[in-house]
């Protein structure tokens, strides 16, 4: 195995009718990632249910209730690998609580595969999936025009759908869109190219997944290092050691770099970059490292190191964000919540609720309450300043979750802009 194999996280969006499960099943089956005992288990269940063919969707239905009711409740993660890359698929259910589940799975994805039935073309749900992908800032979109076998593998039909979709995608700011005609049922252009789509010259789905460039998905220029944990061994050997542990969320840092500690604004110089495997001269996102500094400065978890010369993040106690409400209990504007942003947790309240977006029509509606699956524009006040970038610039420092202190549930996900 080559030393440069990478990890690609992607999600699939589409309903069962679009052939989503069949597509995932085909991808796993044709890349030889389904094990015999898994296959025999789902074959048995399919037979028990009186199905003519093996239902590949059963592979992802992990819970008893799901198997009993024939529904998918929650995001399931599946893993497969080719000699070129490792893949994590976030498989989201297609119906109820769709927004909540898709936002959750999309938050860590590099790429989304949006499925379309070639007979039906761009539908309301295609728009919804694309809107959510753009909202969560998934960097790459693949439009998989499935069931090409049902339209006689017509290039004209494919071109028509692609033209319509590209106009819509551009409106949403989705720029990196690749369209593939395929038939998950027959296996055309999924793993193998098949013999029916000779007019299509682009990569098959798996080839695209193996080759899409993801190195630049994280912000590579502006160094961001939220302090997670201060390491003070206080042993004989490491008596004076004071290391700041964390993961580089964006950019890179080198020994000797001048850095600013936020929110205090104090500056100092990086003395050493430590890891268990030895000292480094330079470290980059998303490495987890330990930094030691030239000066003794009061620093604790929740502070952020940035490189002094780069674009500074904002340090504010009030900001606007797009919020996805995830909880069954609606937003209560009179209450205080907790916001967890990078490694800092602060009390917060919602000072304004500007509007709610209808995920199907993209129309804006006034709102004074938020219910589960609502997407809204809000203003938030926090008790302590947060150090943040706009979500469009940096997913890690532009995102936050909202926690209800009474129940400790995660009730919302937010993107600062």
């Amino acid at each position: 195995m080559s030393n440069t194999t990478q990890l690609l996280r992607f999600i699939t969006a589409g309903s069962v009718d679009d052939g989503k499960s069949t597509l995932i099943g085909r991808l796993l089956h044709d890349s030889k990632s389904i094990f015999e005992d898994q296959f025999s288990a789902i074959s048995k269940t399919s037979e028990k249910r009186g199905m003519a063919a093996v239902d590949l969707s059963l592979l992802t239905d992990g819970l008893q209730a799901e198997r009993e009711q024939g529904i998918t409740i929650d995001v399931a993660y599946r893993y497969f690998a080719t000699p070129k890359r490792k893949f994590i698929i976030g498989d989201t259910p297609g119906h109820e609580q769709y927004t909540r589940n898709m936002v959750t799975a999309a938050s860590t994805a590099n790429l989304v595969v949006i499925l379309i039935d070639a007979r039906k073309g761009v539908l309301t749900q295609t728009r919804r999936h694309s809107f959510l992908a753009s909202l969560v800032g998934v960097p790459h979109v693949v439009l998989a025009v499935n069931k090409m076998d049902m339209v006689d593998y017509s290039q004209a039909r494919f071109d028509e759908i692609v033209a319509e979709y590209k106009v819509f995608a551009a409106q949403l700011g989705l720029h990196d869109v690749h369209c593939i005609p395929l038939s998950a049922l027959n296996g055309d252009m999924v793993v193998d190219r098949g013999e029916n789509l000779g007019w299509y010259e682009g990569p098959a789905l798996l080839e695209l997944l193996e080759k899409v460039e993801i190195d630049h998905d994280v912000n590579t220029s502006d160094f961001r290092f939220p302090v997670q944990w201060v390491c003070r061994p206080q042993t004989e050997e490491h008596h004076d050691f004071r290391g700041f542990m964390g993961r580089i969320e964006a950019g890179e840092v080198s020994v000797g770099d001048e850095i600013t500690i936020l929110p205090s604004g104090r500056t100092t110089t990086v003395k050493e970059i430590d890891t268990y495997d030895g000292k480094l001269q330079t470290a980059f996102a998303p490495q987890s490292v330990t930094l030691t500094l030239e000066d003794e400065i009061d620093i604790s978890r929740g502070d952020m190191f940035v490189r002094s010369s780069a674009h500074p993040p904002k340090v504010e106690k009030e900001f606007e964000a797009t919020l996805c409400w995830l909880s069954e209990a609606p937003l209560d504007k009179s209450r205080k919540y907790l916001v967890k942003h990078t490694t800092r947790t602060a009390k917060c309240l919602f000072s304004r609720l500007d509007y709610r977006v209808d995920v199907n029509t993209l129309e804006r509606h006034t709102a004074d309450k938020l219910h589960m699956n609502d997407i809204a524009r809000v203003a938030i006040k926090t008790q302590q300043p947060l150090v943040f970038d706009s979500y469009g610039i940096d997913r890690a420092t532009g995102s936050f979750i909202v926690i209800d202190e009474a129940t400790n549930n995660t009730v919302a996900a937010g993107m600062i802009a």
Partner: protein
């Protein structure tokens, strides 16, 4: 969309580096946000990987949590020896609580000494959590192991009865983890959720980790029972009519001796195991865990009762 040409790949940050960094980040979140965490350590390969990740997360300091083993007393002696040696070499505190203690207390009633004890591990685990007041337990479970696990969060909330409610899990976004619990509740944390069996073996090879020798091919007395190859031990003796044979086998998992089956193999090195793992057509648990074959939902039911 920009595509990478194979010969132009220049970065050296591998998928193992990405997984390792994610796991270190998770462990540090636990250390920073949980009041009294513990790391569940059995001496098996996944928990040995967890120890290396903890070293990477916290050295040069000591681990900010003790190691805890819930001993069924049905473990392979080689695994227990490895557990004790690793904990001693690292200089970290190891707490061992045995199912025998719960049996003496009467909280576990065993009908047959030689039956698998995995279902009872939850009882002793919950008693140990209560004894020490742990609010977070780090465990080495992976999502690729089992279909109920594929649905579980990295930070998996348990109520005051230690129960998992799969239909009512906290949404988990980005890598911003909600670690909060009320007194009496706890969180199970799985830093290697996104690792696969293959990743584990590649990491063991890369890090040159010491693992119990029964993971490598060796000759062993076995009997064949109901389609499974079962190791003969003081707990499993041949029934009348069963023949003891010598087979060349290795273990893909090392659990309760009465229900962990070895696979026939000649792989004597990590590299040879990686080759076999790439070629195998049977899942890890499917090949080795007889207790998971009893029903589609065995693991889910155990987890709901408090199993890790």
């Amino acid at each position: 969309m920009k595509l990478v040409e194979d010969n132009l790949r220049k970065h050296t940050f591998t998928h193992l580096d990405a997984l390792e960094s994610e796991s270190i980040h998770i462990m540090r979140e636990v250390a920073a946000e949980c009041k009294n965490p513990a790391l569940l350590f059995s001496g098996g390969k996944d928990s040995i990987v967890m120890l290396r990740l903890a070293e990477k997360a916290f050295r040069p300091a000591k681990f900010p949590f003790p190691l805890v083993h819930i001993d069924t007393e049905h473990n392979f002696p080689e695994v227990i020896a490895c557990r004790d040696k690793l904990a001693a070499d690292l200089g970290e505190r190891l707490i061992v609580r045995s199912l025998e203690d719960s049996i003496k207390r009467g909280s576990i009633v065993i009908k047959d000494e030689n039956k698998p004890r995995n279902p009872f591990q939850s009882v002793t685990l919950l008693e140990t959590i209560a004894e020490f007041g742990f609010d977070a337990c780090l465990g080495g479970a992976r999502r690729d192991e089992e279909k109920a696990r594929a649905k579980e969060r990295i930070f998996s909330f348990r109520d005051e009865f230690g129960q998992w409610d799969p239909k009512n899990q906290r949404p988990e976004l980005w890598d911003t983890y909600n670690t909060r619990v009320h007194p009496g509740e706890n969180i199970r944390v799985f830093p290697i959720s996104n690792w696969t069996e293959m990743d584990i073996w590649e990491y063991i090879g890369r890090e040159k980790l010491h693992i119990p020798n029964i993971y490598f091919a060796h000759e062993r007395e076995v009997i064949r029972r109901g389609g499974n190859v079962i190791p003969v031990s003081h707990l499993v003796q041949p029934k009348p009519g069963e023949k003891v044979e010598i087979a060349t086998v290795r273990f893909r998992t090392v659990g309760d001796m009465t229900c962990t089956a070895p696979v026939e193999s000649t792989a004597r090195t990590v590299d040879e195991i990686i080759v076999e793992t790439a070629a195998t057509r049977i899942t890890e648990r499917g090949a080795t865990r007889m207790d998971d074959q009893t029903s589609d939902a065995s693991m889910e039911l155990r987890k709901k009762e408090g199993y890790f």
